[in-house]
Symmetry: C2
DNA sequence: GCGACGTACGTACGTTGTACGTCCGGCGTA
DNA sequence: TACGCCGGACGTACAACGTACGTACGTCGC
């Protein structure tokens, strides 16, 4: 390894790795003689080749580490150890990069489906897949939720949902509405969890003393249920609401 | 060919397009003599006195006009015809301003409640109030949804919801969960409508031809229901999902 | 050999949020 | 009446941002 690396080399660290001592040769010593082109390159393992895929991954990494508002083209560039403008050879602008992030994350949705299972269970699995995505990419979620995804990747969950609805025996319009209701619930849950998570990140337990200062005449129920409100078993909360929707749908399906 | 004009440019084109004829007196002609302080003010209508309230209102106006990402302190300042830094005498920073926006909008929630009505109707009214807010301040919604509101204003809807849940006979934990499920649904619906609205703002009807290009093997249901999917009766969609949740809650209440 | 081309890069511009210092007009006290 | 204080309005300044543009270099088809 690394025997006879004559010209200080270009680090070629492929990852978010600033490479401590070297100037990374931004100045390029000389265009001088020597170094016959044919034999110069191959074994040196130049650099992993900048690519839209790598850029998107780096962006996701930064978002998950520091939050979406901390993402900047400059930070992505330094994470990849390239110049800022090089990114623009693979991504037209920041908005497009964020769309790439959204699509990438959306593609991680686990849409495994067992058509032989009873439809309520299939529906549950579908909504739970959304929730799992929220757990895997918590901070990228805002990006996903605020970018329209009309690519095939974005439509795939819809396809699955409509398939399940058809299996339940719903007619066309009802299927669409049922899908939308479940989707709305999934999205809303994710938003709620996100806010809870961010709140906890900023302060310890903000609610505890906040409730104490409330006017007991105006907020009797909030105060009485303070302990329940402070507790956040997101899993149980999620399943509760999901259960409501599914049982209501079952009831509706049975009537037809 | 290098318009190397060193200082020449700068142009100082100040705005997109505000206030057609007037310079709006940004320069303040003179602090001259005359104008006795006692009788000077009332009829002259100097300037409405910069205030946090006015700043927040201006911000909301700008957000509703141009979208939340177009909001900048500089734009708020010019809208109010003051210098940028003057804003900071009333608002510590932009984030705080956005929280002010969120709180202001949240306060517009119509929480009228008739305790003598049957609880399912009261619950419906509560969720519908959220929806109405979404209709009144569509673009400010993202701001509201992404800012934790733990002020009394933010807790008021929770109080109402818990009161309704208590009227339905739910115990404490169930009340909290029911409230959260309804809230998640309301939030999710709003997010969905928002995305639909923004999509329509950008292009005519993007879906129509988008569906045509899909692989029929992978997206049979989406294609079959293309017309239903293209149609967006947000009102009916909303009521459908709300109905699911309410009937499921009624069922649960009846079992206790 | 040579041109065309794709990609990495540096420079530069306009816009953003906001720290900091200055200035002024009205108020409390002497 | 005089004076000093203070809060609010303002200008200047800076770092960080997104990105338009021009350039330099490696590779590939002739």
């Amino acid at each position: 390894m690394s025997e006879a690396t004559p010209p200080a080399a270009a680090t070629t660290r492929d990852e978010p790795r600033p490479s401590p001592p070297e100037p990374v040769a931004p100045v390029r010593p000389e265009p001088v003689v020597s170094v016959r082109p044919e034999q110069a390159v191959p074994e040196q393992a130049v650099r992993p080749a900048l690519t839209r895929e790598r850029i998107v991954r780096a962006a996701i990494g930064l978002i998950e580490a520091d939050g979406p508002e901390a993402l900047s083209m400059r930070r992505v560039a330094t994470a990849l150890d390239v110049a800022v403008m090089s990114l623009y050879n693979h991504v037209p602008n920041k908005k497009a990069l964020l769309e790439g992030v959204a699509e990438h994350v959306a593609n991680r949705l686990d849409l495994a489906d067992d058509p032989s299972a009873p439809w309520p269970e299939r529906a549950r699995a579908l909504v739970r897949a959304h929730r799992k995505m929220a757990r895997d990419f918590p901070r990228s979620l805002t990006v996903v939720l605020s970018h329209k995804v009309d690519t095939p990747a974005g439509l795939r969950p819809a396809e699955r949902a409509l398939a399940v609805a058809a299996a339940a025996g719903f007619d066309g319009p009802t299927s669409v509405r049922a899908m939308r209701a479940l989707l709305a619930y999934a999205v809303g849950t994710q938003m709620r969890e996100l806010r809870v998570a961010e709140a906890f990140a900023h302060l310890g337990t903000p609610a505890a003393d906040s409730f104490a200062r409330l006017d007991p005449d105006e907020f009797p129920h909030v105060i009485a249920l303070a302990s329940e409100l402070a507790e956040n078993d997101t899993e149980a909360d999620f399943e509760f609401g999901l259960d409501l929707l599914i049982t209501a749908l079952q009831l509706r399906a049975a009537r037809a």
